[in-house]
């Protein structure tokens, strides 16, 4: 469905992505992990065309998205994105956040958009807040609305860029629960995350990035229990160190 081939990206002198290759099949839940600055966000942004890749191909259903003749907006509508910082439209209510894209981009009639918005807001448990403005919500609530907004466009694949790392620890759970439910339903997802538990238990494929390259990838069980590269080993050890003490609880 989505296939990245020899993708690379440089900012001036700085080569941030180096010959990235990987594939996403329908129904896949892929987690991307890696240290800060390893290029995870940049990769996601390239896939969603928020950054333009320097070279390489992004094939979506076999068509190269980076060629000149592709309608960017149409492609983007099929690829949903959830950001770390939510990026809800501050001038719209929760409901309107979920409707505006359907109306403007998909040209749906208002009633239909309204019904779809309510459906997905219900899915993330936010129907009670449809009249709120984003600044009136907690972080977890914002992220749930952002997920509903992405879902309302009925994308074929959902990209998440650290969806929980701007949240208070208490609110992380509510967002992860929504994501787990989506994964169960078979939604195709590509998730950049620092939540190792999510990467291991929910996804069926994990990609570890180091210094702009894919250093290691594979099934979560194998990757977490038998990391091959020393970098990944080092990386995973940092997480266990912090959480160690909780093991005894």
């Amino acid at each position: 469905m989505l296939s990245i081939e020899h993708l690379s990206k440089r900012f001036g002198e700085n080569e941030v992505l180096k010959d990235i290759n990987f594939q996403v099949r329908p129904g896949d839940v892929t987690s991307i992990i890696g240290a800060s600055g390893s290029g995870k966000s940049t990769l996601l942004r390239c896939i969603n065309l928020l950054e333009s890749a320097t070279s390489g191909k992004i094939l979506f259903h076999g068509q190269n998205i980076l060629s000149d003749h592709v309608n960017e907006a149409k492609y983007r509508a099929k690829v949903g994105m959830v950001f770390q910082s939510f990026n809800l439209f501050n001038n719209h209510t929760v409901l309107s956040n979920c409707m505006v894209g359907q109306i403007k981009v998909l040209k749906k009639p208002k009633e239909e958009a309204y019904d779809a918005a309510l459906l997905y807001l219900d899915k993330v448990g936010m129907t009670s807040h449809i009249n709120a403005k984003p600044h009136q919500l907690s972080g977890g609530q914002k992220q749930r609305v952002a997920i509903a907004r992405a879902l309302a466009m009925q994308p074929e694949i959902l990209l998440f860029d650290e969806p929980t790392s701007a949240l208070d620890p208490e609110m992380v759970g509510e967002v992860l629960d929504v994501m787990k439910a989506l994964a169960k339903e078979g939604t195709t997802m590509l998730v950049v995350t620092h939540e190792m538990a999510f990467a291991r238990d929910v996804s069926n494929h994990v990609v570890y990035m180091y210094d702009g390259k894919i250093e290691e990838e594979g099934e979560p069980k194998n990757l977490f229990s038998r990391p091959k590269s020393p970098q990944l080993k080092e990386f995973l050890s940092r997480f266990t160190k912090t959480d160690q003490s909780n093991d005894a609880t």
């Binding site: 969603n48 065309l49 928020l50 333009s52 000149d68 907006a73 149409k74 492609y75 983007r76 509508a77 099929k78 690829v79 949903g80 994105m81 950001f83 910082s85 939510f86 990026n87 809800l88 439209f89 501050n90 001038n91 719209h92 209510t93 505006v100 894209g101 403007k104 981009v105 129907t127 009670s128 807040h129 449809i130 009249n131 709120a132 403005k133 600044h135 009136q136 919500l137 907690s138 609530q141 952002a146 907004r149 992405a150 466009m153």
Partner: protein
């Protein structure tokens, strides 16, 4: 009683009484021009501001890139030129120059509105550009990510927020326009300041007429700025929203935080 025997206050009243018609007309002219031109200036400013924030992408057509570059350059020249030179001279050039050189006879009102609008537009262009850039880049990315094009993004997401951010500046421009309209006397616009000159020129009661006019100006600007302030507050909308059911989490942290921050920002 002859005017030479009156005291200051009596003279002021005499002027008010004698010239109430002219004063009212002058004030009305001033306000109409100021309001219309501030509005038109905002439109111009928004148009210019939007173009100035357009960034061509790598894969765009080379012609499009060149044209955009040229347009941007012209707009920059427009902004710099009109901001950098006195409006009175611009007025003279546009009104008399157009008819002398091109035989183009603009009506006085058309000319007045044209001149003040493009001037306001030049000032607003920078303000709007700032306003657009002050909107968090995440808003644009959010809109792009659901497939909106530049135009839709601007219209549904960025501009409404930019407008809110630059409202104080629009108010400022209105007040400046109320006062700056006086330079239009060069093209024969009978606004408030021109009325003042007529009165003081005819009666030689400079300070009395000046006091009257000062008070009128103050009322106009003060009332305008209060109305704009009220409008700004209305734009912010209610602090609370209707909750379909109560959600204690939202109440204790999410909702209550808003007035706290808003208060600090005032």
């Amino acid at each position: 009683m002859s005017i030479s025997e009156m005291n200051f206050l009596q003279r002021m009243l005499y002027i008010l009484e004698q010239y109430s018609g002219s004063l009212a007309k002058g004030a009305a002219t001033t306000m109409v021009i100021a309001i219309v031109c501030t509005a038109l200036g905002c439109v111009i400013g928004f148009a210019v501001g939007i173009v100035q924030t357009l960034e061509p992408k790598k894969k765009d057509n080379i012609f499009y890139k060149i044209i955009l570059k040229v347009i941007k350059l012209l707009l920059t020249a427009y902004v710099e030129l009109f901001r950098g030179t006195p409006m009175m001279l611009q007025a003279a050039f546009i009104y008399y120059g157009a008819s002398q050189v091109f035989g183009l006879n603009l009506g006085m009102w058309q000319a007045a509105i044209l001149i003040v609008s493009i001037n306001t537009g030049a000032y607003m262009a920078e303000t709007v550009r700032g306003g657009i850039l002050s909107v968090d880049i995440g808003q644009t990315e959010g809109a792009k990510a659901i497939g909106m094009n530049h135009f839709q993004t601007m219209l549904s997401v960025i501009l409404p927020q930019a407008l809110r951010n630059i409202m104080p500046q629009i108010g400022n421009n209105l007040i400046i326009n109320i006062k700056d309209t006086c330079v239009l006397s060069i093209i024969g616009t009978v606004e408030l300041f021109f009325t003042f000159k007529s009165i003081s020129g005819a009666l030689y009661t400079y300070f009395e007429a000046a006091t009257v006019i000062l008070i009128i100006y103050f009322i106009l600007t003060f009332v305008s700025s209060r109305i704009l302030l009220a409008w700004e507050n209305r734009m912010d909308g209610p602090v609370n929203f209707d909750l379909a059911t109560t959600d204690t989490l939202a109440f204790t942290s999410g909702m209550m935080r808003f007035p706290r921050k808003a208060k600090r920002r005032k």
